[in-house]
């Protein structure tokens, strides 16, 4: 074992509260990340079973009841229980460090939000051994999710688990927003905030706007299922579409909750590895705010096929197209940041470039879903499954890996292996394209999503086989990453305070940082305080 501590550098003799009682934002961040990794692995295993079932037509590896539970829990896991904690975990660890604060605004509330999130996830997974997992899809449309059609306890575990998990996420968002707004170091004006912090701020407000809608919907569904209510029951005057409106009012901002923090990560990585300030800082920050507002006005593009009237159809088509504009602005700015730079192609940068390259595909197919006639062909098919995985795996997850390779040395004091990192990147890149690209044409050919099997005469077999092979390549890729982390934790090269020649405050303190983060803070007079300290002769303009 090396002498460098992991996660927090406590002075000799200082006692730690332990993982169960800690209120240190760094340790809670690590707990969140650990929860995210564990649930990401579970969600990944669920997807591998599904891919194995779909590899050939008419397969009987699993029965339809189990298949329905697998895709429901996979969706719930990846959308709510795995990636949100991963992103919140990074934000927890990094935001106070990046703004020069000793901790978050409410450390004890921070612990509460983590433990609520974890308990919610445990409640959802407990259903597997308590009578059956939820099986009505991650968006659980009634009437299918009503007791008449889903009599088992699975949907109730879904309701309770997500309600508790959501409460934790909401509390955490309040904490992060207050921290960012009130606890910045002297001189760190809002117009100098690192972009990861900017996007965390926007994400926090998205959570505050979106999650309560989900909570309200869950309460209504609970009343229907357990107390004889009729919110969504058409046989008693209820309206099944009400759920869809409420759910997607949450569900579409949720996509940006998952992707904005990853955009923030690559917005940190690309400038550092290009040796250049971000191009168009104001546009990158403002486009995040624009995405934030617009994301609350696009939900019904998930519902073009439900029989909306013409006005609603055109309105949501326009708003959904508009959101492509601030998204495009970001992609142009990242590319312009690289142009004229001196690009070091280390693992964090590989993943950041991969993020841009793959997110472009998800973005373009996303625009096609705003074009109503094309949406009517592709919605609820594998085309959408492919689209959303380009956004959330090609986008969010590659961004998270960029962030993981970038900040792992800060959190642990150790570098990850570059050689394993390159293997990890290229296997992920190949695996995700093999898995998700063929989904687009299978969807257009008629393969609806959530089919537990398909007939041989459809001709979908070969491409499904390719997708399954790709999924297992992705599994190997994730195993390489796990190996890299474990080896590095055991005996990785010592990182030092600033291994990447970076710009922002978190790199001015030790790796890992001490309990209150900073012994001394550099004066902040620009967006790149550490650059200014290292290059006093060519400081940034303020």
């Amino acid at each position: 074992m090396s002498a460098v501590p992991l996660w927090v550098a406590r002075p000799a003799g200082a006692s730690a509260a332990g993982w169960l009682r800690t209120v240190d934002h760094k340790e809670i961040g690590v707990l969140y990340i650990g929860m995210g990794v564990a649930l990401f692995a579970l969600g990944g295993i669920e997807s591998l079973v599904m891919r194995a079932q779909l590899a050939t037509p008419n397969a009987r590896l699993v029965d339809p009841e189990l298949y329905d539970q697998l895709f429901t829990v996979h969706g719930v896991t990846m959308m709510l229980l795995a990636v949100v904690p991963l992103l919140v975990g990074f934000a927890n660890y990094l935001v106070p460090l990046m703004i020069g604060a000793p901790d978050v605004a409410y450390p004890r509330l921070n612990a509460l939000s983590f433990w609520l999130s974890l308990v919610g996830a445990i409640v959802v997974y407990f259903s597997w051994i308590a009578g059956g997992a939820p099986d009505a899809g991650w968006f659980s449309y009634p009437p299918l999710a009503e007791r008449a059609f889903a009599p088992g306890p699975g949907v109730d575990y879904y309701i309770l688990g997500l309600a508790v998990n959501g409460a934790g996420t909401i509390i955490g968002a309040i904490n992060l927003a207050v921290t960012i707004l009130l606890m910045r170091a002297p001189g760190l004006r809002i117009s100098r905030l690192p972009l990861f912090v900017w996007m965390t701020l926007v994400t926090s407000f998205l959570i505050l706007g979106a999650y309560p809608a989900l909570s309200g919907g869950l309460v209504m569904l609970f009343v229907d299922r357990q107390l004889g209510g009729h919110f969504f029951d058409p046989t008693a005057g209820g309206q099944p579409l009400l759920w869809q409106h409420v759910f997607w009012f949450f569900g579409h901002p949720e996509v940006y909750i998952l992707v904005l923090p990853a955009m923030g990560m690559v917005s940190e990585v690309i400038p550092v590895f290009s040796g250049k300030p971000i191009f168009g800082y104001r546009f990158v920050a403002a486009s995040s705010v624009a995405i934030g507002f617009l994301s609350f006005s696009v939900w019904a593009h998930h519902m073009f096929a439900v029989g909306l009237n013409e006005f609603e159809t055109l309105l949501f088509s326009v708003t959904s197209m508009l959101i492509a504009i601030p998204t495009g602005v970001k992609i142009f700015n990242w590319t312009a940041t690289m142009i004229g730079g001196r690009i070091r192609l280390l693992t964090p940068m590989l993943f950041a470039i991969g993020f841009i390259a793959m997110f472009v595909i998800g973005g373009l197919t996303g625009v096609s879903l705003a074009v109503v006639p094309l949406d009517l062909q592709t919605t609820d098919t594998y085309y959408v499954v492919g689209h959303l995985h380009y956004v959330l795996f090609g986008g969010t997850m590659l961004g998270v890996f960029a962030g993981a390779y970038y900040w792992f040395p800060k959190m642990t004091g150790r570098l990850l292996s570059e050689r394993l990192g390159r293997w990890h990147f290229w296997t992920a890149f190949v695996g995700l394209n093999l898995t998700f690209l063929p989904m687009h044409w299978l969807g257009v050919q008629g393969m609806a999503r959530r089919m537990w099997t398909y007939a041989a005469d459809t001709g979908w077999g070969p491409w499904n086989f390719v997708e399954t092979a790709g999924a297992f390549v992705l599994a190997v890729s994730m195993a390489i990453f796990a190996l890299n982390v474990v080896r590095s934790l055991r005996g990785g090269a010592i990182a030092g305070d600033d291994p990447w020649d970076a710009f922002t405050l978190e790199w001015t303190t030790t790796s890992p940082p001490p309990p209150e983060n900073f012994r001394t803070l550099p004066a902040v007079t620009s967006r790149r305080p550490l650059w200014d300290r290292k290059h006093p002769e060519m400081r940034d303009a303020s």
Binding site: V306, I343, I356, P373, M447
Partner: protein
């Protein structure tokens, strides 16, 4: 007005071409940047970090592109959605996990015949959960939602068989809820509809087995006393290409195999296994197969 699939296909080609052009431009710029500015080729990075005019340009350019796409889309919308030019109306009702098609009182299941060159208004309903009616080669999908009626315009110029699929997850056998649409000439369609409107024969051993077992609780055969509505109408089941919404062909041997153990072919379906003697099974299968 154009057939919906043709209108959507044309729009898809245009939007697809725009998307491919943007894809090539953006990915090309990215690859160029990585290659041209890699560390081994650059001694000292530049320091520029803004250009407001450029920023405004690349905010405006996507906006203009999207405006063009939106206008193109408007020209397509009237070809899809509700049919204002309908010459034929068919009520399609979703059930877990089969389709009911009602031609103004003449009811059939899972296989829908339509005349070519005729604009059709499909009224979409559901008796249980949400379903979605989708035949990709005929146009976009529209959901079937209990408590409301949605409309879908169908029109095709080419005779043939078009396969479709329920597109909204509707429970365990969502996968085996296939649609078969037969598009044929007006004359063939009229002949088919006349056949469908005629009652079935009610004589023979098979008919007796059907009438004296629980089959009648769920299935209807017009011309007999069987009037169940929970399962597909079987009046002319032998004339359809498949049974159980696309699981098996409709020949007597397949029907017999289905009757012996429905759960083997469509696990989770509501069709129960009815204990019958081998002789009764043979008679029932050949009777149902003969209902053309």
């Amino acid at each position: 007005m154009r057939p919906p699939a043709e209108a959507i296909g044309t729009l898809a080609l245009i939007v697809g071409a725009i998307a491919v052009a943007i894809f090539i431009g953006v990915e090309g710029a990215l690859v160029y940047a990585v290659w041209r500015y890699r560390a081994s080729r650059v001694a000292m990075p530049a320091r520029f970090d803004r250009n407001t005019r450029l920023e405004l340009a690349w905010t405006a350019a996507p906006a203009l592109t999207l405006a063009v796409v939106f206008v193109l889309m408007l020209g397509t919308l009237r070809d899809i959605g509700a049919a204002t030019d309908a010459q034929l109306r068919i009520r399609a009702t979703g059930h877990q996990w089969w389709w009911e098609f009602d031609y103004s009182g003449i009811v059939t299941a899972n296989e829908m015949h339509i005349p070519i060159d005729t604009a059709i208004d499909i009224e979409l309903a559901s008796v249980d959960v949400n379903h979605s009616f989708w035949v990709p080669e005929l146009g976009g999908k529209t959901d079937m939602i209990p408590g409301q009626i949605n409309h879908l315009r169908l029109l095709t110029r080419r005779p043939g068989v078009y396969l479709g699929q329920c597109a909204e997850f509707c429970g365990v056998e969502h996968a085996w809820m296939r649609i078969r649409v037969v598009a044929e000439t007006k004359e063939d369609f009229d002949r088919w509809l006349a056949t469908q409107g005629s009652p079935a024969t009610a004589s023979g051993d098979g008919a007796r087995v059907f009438q004296s077992n629980t089959c009648v609780n769920c299935h209807a055969i017009r011309g007999t006393s069987a009037r169940g509505e929970a399962g597909p109408d079987l009046t002319h089941v032998g004339g359809r290409a498949t049974i159980a919404a696309g699981v098996l062909p409709s020949d007597a041997a397949s029907i017999r195999a289905w009757l012996v153990d429905p759960q083997r072919y469509k696990p989770g379906a509501f069709m129960p296994r009815v204990p019958l003697s081998d002789a009764d099974l043979d008679a029932l299968a050949s009777y149902l197969g003969s209902l053309r």
